[in-house]
Each structure stands twice: as C-alpha cells, then as structure tokens.
C-alpha cells in the first residue's frame, strides 16, 4: 500500500500533532500538507510538526443545519481565521465561543487573540478545531 499524505495528516491529528511540510527551496510551510510546496510547486518537501500556536484574527459563524452532515450536532458553530506561529493561515471551528452576534462582536472588538488546537472527533474523523488560550 502506498503512503497517503491525507491519511498521515489525519493519523497525526489523532496523536495530537499538526503535521505540515516544509520547503527548503522557498523556506515556507504547506499546511495541511500536499504533494508539493503550495508556494513554489517544489515536490521535494520534508515533513515537520507545527507548534500549534496560533492567533485568531477574525471569527464568524455558519448555518444550521450545515451542508455537511458531520457537523449537524454542533451547528451553528463559530468559524475562525487564524495565523499560525510558523506562518500558515488556517481556518477552522472555534470552540467555546457561541455563534451569536453579541459574543462575536465582543471578540471582534477585542482584536487578535491567541488560540490552541482543540481536536474533536466527529463521526469518527479527527477535526482540527481551536480554542481560546
């Protein structure tokens, strides 16, 4: 059986690890990982583990019921725009913040806040969510 990058990423999440690839050519990360550096196309990249330190820049929310049945039980949920310490920008579910205007407005007015991974298990899949530190 050949190695699947996607499978390895999700297996990493199950161990609490955020796996990325790093490109020596342009010194940038691809997260989540693919078969090439997403910045320059270089296929010769190395696996690395990210620190998990991030900053939440903005947070909004989605709909209920959601289009993807995996998320029926937690919808509507807060969804955020995050920059990681190593540079990649990621988007994901934010736990612990209600998907309501008052709470989201307070968060917006507070400005960027630190976040860390809060890995969920939904319908048997590991989902990389984030929580305020």
């Amino acid at each position: 059986m050949a190695d699947s990058i996607i499978k390895r990423y999700y297996d990493g999440l199950a161990e609490g690890k955020l796996l990325a690839t790093h490109c020596d050519f342009c010194d940038a990360y691809t997260f989540p990982p693919t078969t090439a550096c997403e910045h320059c196309g270089n296929p010769d990249v190395e696996w690395v583990e990210l620190s998990g330190k991030g900053t939440l820049l903005f947070a909004s929310h989605g709909a209920a019921p959601p289009p993807n049945a995996r998320f029926v039980d937690i919808a509507p949920y807060t969804y955020g725009h995050i920059v990681l310490a190593e540079g990649p920008v990621v988007q994901g579910i934010i736990t612990g913040v209600k998907a309501e205007p008052e709470e989201l407005q307070a968060l917006f007015e507070r400005g960027p806040v630190p976040v860390e991974p809060d890995i969920l298990t939904l319908m048997g899949l590991k989902v990389l969510a984030w929580k305020l530190v």
């Binding site: 693919t34 903005f58 947070a59 909004s60 289009p67 969804y79 407005q105 917006f108």
Partner: protein, 425 residues
Amino acid sequence: MRGKLKEGASIVGVGCTRFGDLLETPEIKGLSMQELAAMAAQEAMEDANISPQELDAVFVGHAMVHSTQLPGTYSQLSKWIGAQFKAGVHFEAQCSTTNVGAAMAAMAIASGVYEKVLVVGLEATRTRVKDMSPYERVPISTEEAWAWTDYAVNQAYSVPQGYEIFSVYNGLVALGYCRKYGIAIEDYDRAMFELCRTRRLHGAMNPKAILQETLEDEAARLGFSDPWEFWKSRFNPFVAWPCRIRNVVTVADGASAMVLVRKDAARYHSEAPVDLLGFGIAYSDLPWYDKDPSLWPIDRLAWQRAYQMSGVSPRELDYLHTHDCSNIVGMCNAELSGYIPEGKWTQYARDGRLRYDGDRPMSTHGGRHAFGHAWAASAGADTYEAVLQMRGEAGRRQIRPWPETCAIHTHGYAMISTVLILRRC
C-alpha cells in the same frame, strides 16, 4: 505568457432565460434542462443572425451534475440546439464557467482554428431530476444544494474539517474589511442595506430576474413601514455575522449563451458587436486569502491580467459587475478593480452612486441576490446584461449615456477568479 490575442474576437449574440425555479417560475416552469439550455442558445443565435449549422464549435458548461444528470452535456444538447456534427466540449469553471467559455472561444478564434463559437451555460440549483424521470423534477434542499456545490471545494481538508461558505465567503471577509478601514459594524450593516436596496431596485426593473420585488415593497408586504427596521428584523437573519441573508445569493435555475466570431466578421452578424478586449484568469484553493480576508491574491492577478491584455485602464470603465454571491466579496472586488476608490464602497452605496442612474453603476441586472444565481449560467447572464447596456437595450434600468467599456468579474467556486473586459465597437 504572451497574454495577447493574435486576432480580435467579438460577441455578436447573447441569450439568457429568466432565472427562477423550474417548478414555479412561469417563463420556465415545466421545462427540462435540454429545453432551458436550448432557449438561451436559440436566443443567442437569433441575436447573432447565425444558424446552428454555421457554427464551428459549441462549448457547453455546467457545474452540478447531481441536479442535471447530464454529463457529456454538449452531445446531449446537440440535437436540441441543432448543432450536431460540430466540435464540442463540456467544461466547467464553476460559477465562472460561461465567461471562461468566452475566453476559450476568443482563444480558439484568435488561433485561427474556429471562426464561430457558441458558448452555453446551464444550471439547476433549486431543482433536480426526480428519480430517473426524463421530465419530472423535485426541489433541492438548501443543505443538499450546498453539499453538492461544496464538492468543488477542498475535499481533502477544508470540507471534512468544517468549512462552510457563509463564514469564509461572507462573515470573515466583512470583518477583515471593517477592521482595515475602521468601519463600525452598525455602519457596515446600513451600507449593506443600501446596497441591497439598489440591487433589488435593479431586479424589480428586470423581467428576467428571480426577485422582482423591491426591498421596500417586501418590507411593506411583511408589515414594516420602515424598510430599515425590516432589514434588522428576524425576517433578515445573519447567515454569518455580520452578513445577513439578503446580502447573499438567491439560488436559481437558468441558462445563458453567447456567440463569438472573428472581429472582422462581427458586423455581418450584428449591428452592435461587442469586442472581448481581454480577460484575466487566476485560480487557487482554500484559504483564498492571507491575513487580510478582504484582499485576495487571485483577484489581484485576474484584474492585472485583464487590464494588461485589453490595454484598458480602470478609469475607462463605464459599468462593472463583480461576483456578488457574497455582497462584501463583490464590493472588495469593485475597489480592487479601481472602479471605486479603496475603502469607499460603503459611502458610494449610501449615496446611491452604484445605482443604474448613479455615476458608478454596478450589477444592473440585480446581481446574484436579485437576478439570482444559476452557478455556471451566471457569468453569461452578467455578460448578457453588459451587452444589453452597451446596446441601449436594458429597458427601464438603462444606464445613460450607454456604457462603452465594461468589466465583468466572476468567482468560480472554489476558486477561479475571472475578469472579462468588453467594449462596444
């Protein structure tokens, strides 16, 4: 990349169905997808004074095969539009499909291979085939429509990890814009109200729009004397705070078409041909933006490439449509295009300058919210409107003086940024 067309191409015919619901909207109720597509194609060919057998090639696109159940669409349509034995292809660039088709047609013409190309786009986002019936259809639920549409979005990571269009394509972009320009959320909401009023006014003047009721009339119908109070009411909830449901797409079934020919043959087909001066295309996958959600690298590139190929500068534009499946993304693009100044769209919307009778008219067909959005057919509907405006055929919503140079921007989910620059000959 040379980024130039070796020979000019012109749009000499356009067609578009009413956008609506194949189960409800009178002009299209009861039609099959074959008949809907043929309706748009035949309007475009009649407009171009061309018979189907004169065509060299037919490019047919649609995105969501789940609702049409018509893959290989060009061959399935060949006996419906009368163009069998021609060259053809089924292609998709999601919601940029028809305008990417126009760019492909222009390249085919400029290369010298084809001289006359028909581009057709069709989509059903409200209804789908019932079981395997040849003509019966049933409604699609909102979640089902988005689940199918989201097959075009990062299936390795984003979708299984909770991606959802309304936050990523609306709420986060709005917050990025407000923070960048120091705009209070209440002021943003008011500007969005004004923008919606403009778009609904345009839709009310367009017999092909899905929503032909002004926002004011809708408010009154639901018991509100003040449309602003209606805007803030439970009838207009946040789909992704701070964005409300009336600032996003209205899904539709529909079809559009256009005929392109060599520029030097255009007058033979049309008294008012429109040159496709240039186009820009750029694509990427999620995340679509870096730290600033209101600035998208693919849009910057698409605009640059279109301006470069066409030799047109932003100040020459008389009319603009930007992809407004999300109104805030559309307005970020209006600013990026140079049509309105950076950080100013909220003021322009509040001052009515984006109306058909304003000095910076935009999306006079009603945009994705009022005209409706039939994924692959919509870019062609945007081009259809620009062509009508340039010919002075836009009826009550006609821009005066008639625009000469127009730009059409679309986003093909997810994500293909496309810009066409058009000019009346």
